[in-house]
Subunit: 315 residues, 2 copies
């Protein structure tokens, strides 16, 4: 079933040990959409400037992504420049130009309103909440955030968390949000803030799923660790990480895209979704920007899913 | 089949956020032996001082660990003092007193010489090699090392690596040994130094097994990642890490103890050994020193093994 996603569509200039690329098509909504498009129909809400042309539009359209909700305005698109020269796990930001994104006021096309799945990518929590409130009939809402909103916009973020079924963040963000350096304790504290399920991404070490007591899934048989129901999915150790930009958004796209493609969001669907998230995150790192995500096949995705299973499963 | 282990038997004074303990029984050979004793017969080679008395002896004997090879000499046992107040993943050393360990010259009792498995715990590579050479008929040799030997005793360490079937080290050590920050590339470089199999421990994120081209196991069906045959095992996210001291040695004990208990060291035995390693590492962290390792049952171990499987396996 269709997912509506709200977030950034942007240009990124990226430098990594593998080289440098100027003004790649990027942004959280772009990575999420391309990744999720291999699983289900995607509808995007974003804002772009005059530098977003037919070629960029075609990247979305060639994946059957609905771009009616991408607003075109005067000015330049959101631009980010960063490098990973010393540490592939953490970007060093050199420049951020919000441009048209500074005045972003998400508008939801009428044709998007029957979406049963909503993804709130990493943007101002005030905007996340505004979109959430305009789509009261969605079945499942997932969202992302980052250290900036956690530190400096906490009250607005806490309002968003109350309305989330699933929060996807990384280790550092989870620990910062909870004010606790122990992963299990931090997860429990975050679940107490509202999300029914928490996915904590560990970069090259995979991701952990924590289901809260009020999770929508059938949890009777889920293994418990000290009272918390969890599942852990691996990541693929990559010989060469060309560009980690967007790996987290691609994980979210694979995870939520797969969930939305299933008739029911059962426990087993959540577990498989964790694997698909890891698969899409690993593909994203193999080339610069969204290059790899643009040209996958479902067979390549399922082959890697099976590889991940073999890599981690006992007979 | 019996494992002979050579390494330190020591006293540790440990401070963690959970509290402080003075002079716990510790040392790599102690953690390894206790952990491995749940799987097979263990024979220890070590040196202790006059402060090692009947009570300490009984800890070993109550687990049927052969202590004939523990030499008692005049002086005090190896002593280490450290804390984990800021970072549970990295000990801060406050004091190291080698004491009787400074003149350690491992002597192998005649009754140990039919051991088919040998574990060279983290000690001076010159001593590791000396023990290895005195036991030419072992079937499988595994070993550990640390940053100090990698940095300052590289030539001696390289000699040891040539004679190892399995090397067990952590991420930092693997990357330092290879001079490469990419895990897959580092693993390949380490395998080129001699070990047929490399186990890289990731602390709370589990561990990865890399089989080299000359691995002793039947590898035909092992999944490959860019030409390297790998397997990844999870770690249990713990709500409270009381004391991480010895977790790596306990992992090694569970891993190698399980392998030695099997009639053949097949691929599947290696994979299950990875899980048993993670299981024993997680138990070790639950109490100070070797407290938890002293009082386990095989049923508790197998229950946690099954929990780890459920935690990570798709249906």
């Amino acid at each position: 079933m269709a997912i509506t996603v709200v977030g950034s569509v942007a240009y990124d200039t990226i430098e990594t040990p593998a080289g440098k690329r100027e003004r790649c098509l990027g942004g959280a909504a772009t990575y999420f959409s391309l990744s999720a498009s291999y699983f289900t129909d995607i509808r995007v809400i974003a804002v772009v400037g005059e530098d977003f042309g037919r070629r960029q539009q075609e990247v979305f359209q060639s994946h059957n992504i609905d771009t009616q909700g991408i607003e075109h305005t005067a000015g330049k698109s959101f631009f980010w420049e960063g490098s990973y020269l010393e540490n592939l796990n953490e970007a060093k930001t050199h420049n951020t130009e919000l441009n048209v994104f500074a005045a972003f006021d998400p508008k939801i096309p009428e044709s998007y309103r029957d979406s049963k799945f909503l993804f709130l990518a990493n943007i101002d929590p005030v905007l996340q909440r505004r979109v959430r409130e305009q789509m009261p009939d969605v079945k499942l809402v997932a969202g992302d955030t980052m250290n900036y909103w956690i530190k400096d916009h906490r009250p607005a973020l806490l309002e968003v968390l109350k309305g989330l079924d699933i929060l996807l963040i990384n280790d550092t963000e989870a620990k910062m949000l909870a004010g606790n350096n122990n992963l299990v304790q931090a997860a429990r504290a975050v679940l107490a803030l509202g999300p029914k399920t928490l996915v904590v991404k560990h970069g090259e070490y995979g991701a952990t799923l924590f289901h809260g007591a009020n999770s929508a899934t059938e949890l009777a048989s889920e293994p418990e660790v000290q009272g918390t129901k969890i599942f852990r999915a691996p990541a693929l150790p990559l010989e060469e990480v060309v560009d980690p930009t967007g790996a987290g958004d691609s994980f979210a796209g694979g995870f939520f895209g797969y969930l939305a493609s299933q008739p029911q969001q059962t426990l087993e669907a959540f577990r498989r979704a964790m694997f698909y998230g890891s698969v899409m995150g690993s593909f994203a790192c193999e080339r610069f920007g969204t290059e790899r995500l643009q040209q996958l096949t479902r067979k390549e995705i399922d082959d890697r899913f099976n590889l991940f299973r073999e890599l981690t499963h006992l007979v």
